[in-house]
């Protein structure tokens, strides 16, 4: 299978050959940063288009079909529109915090995005507590949302931000615990090792019952983390018009919008990495021919394919279910998910200790 580290190593050697080491590192950082941001925005645009199409198909509609063939350029056009729109200055807002909030949100999601293993050898940040770092970085986003709500000087925004705070903190627990469950099974926090460990079978299958439970909980909590329906209370349009980003316009709003879709991708990517073998191809023990064919598919397709399926499922949730109420949302977490999660962790420990997994 093709290893992307060949390319990165070649670039590294080329740079080091023409300039001192320190300068090469700086240049590499810039290149990586640019690539990340480019990938970030391209994926966000693709997801916005996908969401609109998927949502339309669920709703007996065709979706965007005017701009470009099959409406493919719709989200590009939207981006251009968003870029050239005026950022409206609002009186009575805390201008510094108001301006800062979208950047915090975007930085948090770019940070988490950088941790994802897209393909063999194609990963920016990889160190021994990688998954831990990912969880930590992605939860900074809530600060941005809280700031946005607070700084807007708008009652709807404030209620939205408060809801968001309560929701994020609650569901962070579930995310953390379900990730922990899988870490117990795989025995590592490093993302590359996590993926490598799934060469002989995805963790979802290896860990059978507890892994499946953790998977479902992760999906639910992940949907809640991204503030998507049915957990979109912070921006519940029929209650709070647009929640915490009511007062934002132009690219400031665009940042929230991008971050929302990227967070969706990150949740799907982490689910892929933790449960579905990351970029590892599907192998069925004993079916040698089948496994070989699977190996021919590049690892990057495996990762994006699996993430795509996860994204579809999360979209499917959103376009099917009504929104929860804040107390029901918290009840779901504290009364159902958290106890199940704790028991599940215990179950996983038992499974691992007695080697009951595959």
């Amino acid at each position: 299978m093709f290893d992307f580290s060949v390319i990165t190593r070649w670039v590294d050697q080329l740079l080091r050959g023409v300039m001192p080491d320190a300068a090469a590192t700086v240049v590499e950082c810039v290149i990586i940063g640019l690539c990340l941001l480019l990938g970030y925005s391209v994926i966000a645009l693709a997801l916005i288009y996908a969401e609109r199409k998927v949502c339309a198909w669920f709703q007996c509609r065709l979706g965007p079909n005017r701009v470009g063939p099959l409406g493919l350029l719709q989200s590009v056009a939207d981006m251009v529109k968003m870029l050239i729109k005026e950022i409206i200055e609002i009186r009575h807002v805390d201008r510094f915090l108001f301006g800062l909030a979208p950047y915090i949100v975007i930085v948090a999601s770019v940070g988490a995005f950088a941790c994802l293993p897209f393909a063999r050898g194609l990963q920016v940040l990889d160190f021994n507590v990688g998954i831990f770092f990912l969880v930590a970085v992605s939860s900074i986003g809530v600060v941005g949302i809280l700031l946005a709500g607070w700084a807007s000087n708008n009652k709807y925004s404030l209620i939205g931000a408060m809801r968001s705070g309560a929701q994020m903190i609650s569901y962070e627990l579930s995310i953390g615990l379900s990730i922990l469950t899988m870490v117990v099974l795989s025995g590592t926090l490093q993302i590359t090792e996590l993926v490598e460990g799934q060469a002989d079978g995805w963790l979802l299958f290896k860990g059978h019952v507890p892994a499946a439970i953790a998977f479902v909980i992760y999906l639910v909590a992940g949907t809640a983390e991204t503030n998507r329906g049915p957990f979109d209370l912070p921006e519940a349009d029929s209650e709070l018009t647009a929640g915490y980003h009511t007062e934002y316009s132009g690219m400031h709003f665009g940042f929230f919008y991008l971050a929302e879709y990227l967070n969706l991708f990150i949740v799907a990517g982490v689910a892929t990495t933790l449960f579905l073998g990351g970029w590892m191809p599907l192998h069925v023990p004993g079916w040698e021919g089948f496994n070989e064919v699977m190996d021919y598919i590049p690892s990057i397709f495996w990762f994006f394919g699996k993430a795509g399926v996860m994204i579809f499922v999360i979209m499917w949730f959103k376009w099917t279910f009504p929104r929860l109420r804040i107390d029901q949302l918290l009840r779901l977490e504290w009364k159902y998910l958290l106890p199940v999660n704790l028991l599940n962790l215990l179950l996983m420990v038992i499974v691992v200790v007695y080697k009951l997994h595959f």
Partner: protein, 538 residues
């Protein structure tokens, strides 16, 4: 049966005027309140439902006419009172007897300047606070210079006034400075139009709701006073636009009754079929928008997908989709389209599988159920007191269907069930409507093949003049009893015309239901009450 003699004996100042249909008890202001209380509480009377409250400028006097109805016997009577003091008119309030009088008396104050002693909250209801004069008085100065189009925004005061019986005035606060007051509306995705709630919150909990109406007030009742009867027909369609046909039906019935005109059997059938199609489209839209309010956006499209088919059926016959302009005095504009029966039958086959889909997507969904069950419980007594009719009233256990109580059209000839639930919460308000969709299909099934031959309209005189008197006729609109009250003095235009709005009581009950619930519940309550704002504001 009320003993008229008993009333005369107890209230010597009260006179009885026999009318064409109903007697009117004319009480002096001093006896009005006591008589109203007697009519409500007396064993023989039990007029517990205030069906319609109309302010009237009688020329030398200003007053109100109440149409009272007993929910036990179904009997009706008019109660009228008035004062000759046109400068500072003051009448006793009945808002503590019937809750619905609360907003209605505010409306009367707004239109006629009559203040009600003991009314807790005398503010203008529809018009701006700086409006000069009282528009429905006959001596109102309609000069555009008196009330120009004002461009500055109208400040919303935080306090209100009330009057004592001796004419003294008291001010009291609606909201404290400490309270966290949020405006839900007039521009808000979930208020279904330009309705505004001022909501005092404590965290997520709603402490108090103050309803502000009038953002789409067009003064239709005032306009109607200068329109001929055929001319005012299009106005009814613009009240509750989702029940356009039914509302027009009510006005036609009222005028026809006043003229003692008998319409052909065919017309009755056609009107009933169209009423039910209208109800179907309205309930489907209710379902869609409620789903959207609760966040299920996909379900919204399913409802609209199916409503489109109903609209097509109606459009083919009437030429209108939302607003049909089909009923006219004495009949309908056109005969039914030859395709109607076939299309309706196709639709009757088409819809039930879709209803099953609705159940799967929304009714059975645990989130939807949790969002609605036990939310905004309206008791039967409150429903009657607030005058909450229609599916919302029936969900509270009040069998208030006009189609059963006072059949019109051919409702007495068809077999259908009046859906009544006892629980009175949002979920049962929802369920009542969903079940009514099936009942409407049943009615259509019975009618569509059996339309008798005959004329589709009777010829009317070019100029229609109603004989002197007061007339009231109501129909079952999609969201409750819609009544038309006409006071005629024999002219070609009415002296006073009042539409008994279906949505007005629904809005008036929101503060009661929402108190103590969450913001999200306020949306669910509003969604399941299913009010239409143009019908509130008129």
């Amino acid at each position: 049966m009320i003993g008229i003699d008993k009333i005369i004996a107890r209230f010597p100042g009260t006179r009885v005027e026999e009318g064409a249909a109903l007697p009117t008890l004319v009480a002096p202001p001093g006896e009005y309140r006591a008589l109203a209380g007697f009519l409500r509480d007396d064993e023989g009377a039990r007029f517990d439902y205030l069906a319609c409250m109309t302010g009237v400028d009688g020329g030398e006097w200003l007053g109100v006419v109440l149409l009272l109805e007993s929910t036990t016997s179904g009997e009706r009577v008019y109660l009228q009172t008035g004062t000759t003091d046109r400068e500072r008119p003051l009448l006793p309030t009945v808002s503590d007897l019937w809750e619905t009088a609360n907003l209605n008396e505010r409306e009367v104050y707004d239109y006629f300047g009559i203040r009600f002693a003991g009314h807790p909250d005398t503010r203008r209801l529809f018009l701006r606070n700086d409006w000069v004069g009282y528009p429905l008085r006959k001596d109102y100065d309609a000069d555009a210079l008196v009330n120009p189009v004002r461009l500055e925004s109208d400040e919303t005061p935080d306090d209100t006034r009330s009057w004592r019986e001796d004419g003294g005035e008291e001010a009291h606060a609606l909201f404290d400075d400490e309270e966290y007051v949020v405006n839900i509306g007039p521009q808000h995705p979930a208020t279904h139009g330009v309705l505004r709630f001022r909501v005092a919150l404590e965290g997520e909990i709603v402490k108090k709701v103050d309803v502000h109406c009038g953002y789409i007030h067009r003064g239709i009742e005032k306009m109607c006073e200068s329109l001929t009867y055929p001319q005012m027909l299009p106005m009814t369609d613009r009240l509750d636009y989702l029940a356009a046909h039914q509302h027009r039906h009510a006005l036609c019935l009222c005028v026809e009754e006043a003229l003692q005109m008998e319409v052909p059997e065919r017309v009755k059938y056609i009107r009933t079929i169209m009423d039910e199609l209208n109800r179907l489209s309205s309930h489907l839209l209710f379902w869609s928008t409620l789903c959207m309010d609760l966040g299920a956006l996909t379900a919204f499209f399913y409802g609209f997908r199916d409503r489109e088919k109903v609209l097509d059926i109606m459009e083919e016959t009437t030429g209108g989709r939302l607003i049909q302009h089909y009923n006219v005095i004495g009949g309908v504009t056109d005969d039914i389209h030859p395709n109607l029966a076939r299309r309706v039958k196709e639709f009757i086959k088409y819809l039930p599988p879709m209803l099953k889909e609705y159940d799967e997507v929304f009714t059975g969904n645990v989130i939807a159920r949790e969002r609605m069950t036990g939310v905004g419980v309206l008791s039967r007594a409150d429903a009657i007191s607030y005058g909450v009719t229609g599916p919302s009233g029936r969900a509270s256990g009040w069998a208030c269907d006009v189609r059963k109580r006072r059949p019109y059209g051919v409702y007495d000839k068809v077999d259908f069930k009046e859906i009544v639930h006892e629980e009175g919460d949002s979920f049962h308000r929802y369920l009542t409507r969903v079940e009514e969709i099936t009942e409407s299909l049943r009615i259509l099934e019975q009618l569509v093949d059996n339309v008798p031959p005959g004329e589709f309209a009777v010829k009317t005189k070019p100029v229609i003049k109603l004989p002197e008197g007061r007339y009231f006729k109501s129909v079952e609109g999609s969201r409750g009893e819609f009544g038309v009250y006409i006071e005629s003095r024999g002219e070609k235009t009415p002296y006073r015309l009042k539409f008994r709005s279906t949505s007005f009581p629904l809005v008036s009950v929101v503060p009661l239901l929402a108190r103590g619930s969450k913001i999200a519940d306020l949306i669910a309550i509003g969604g399941t009450l299913d009010y239409i704002v143009p019908d509130v504001d008129r």
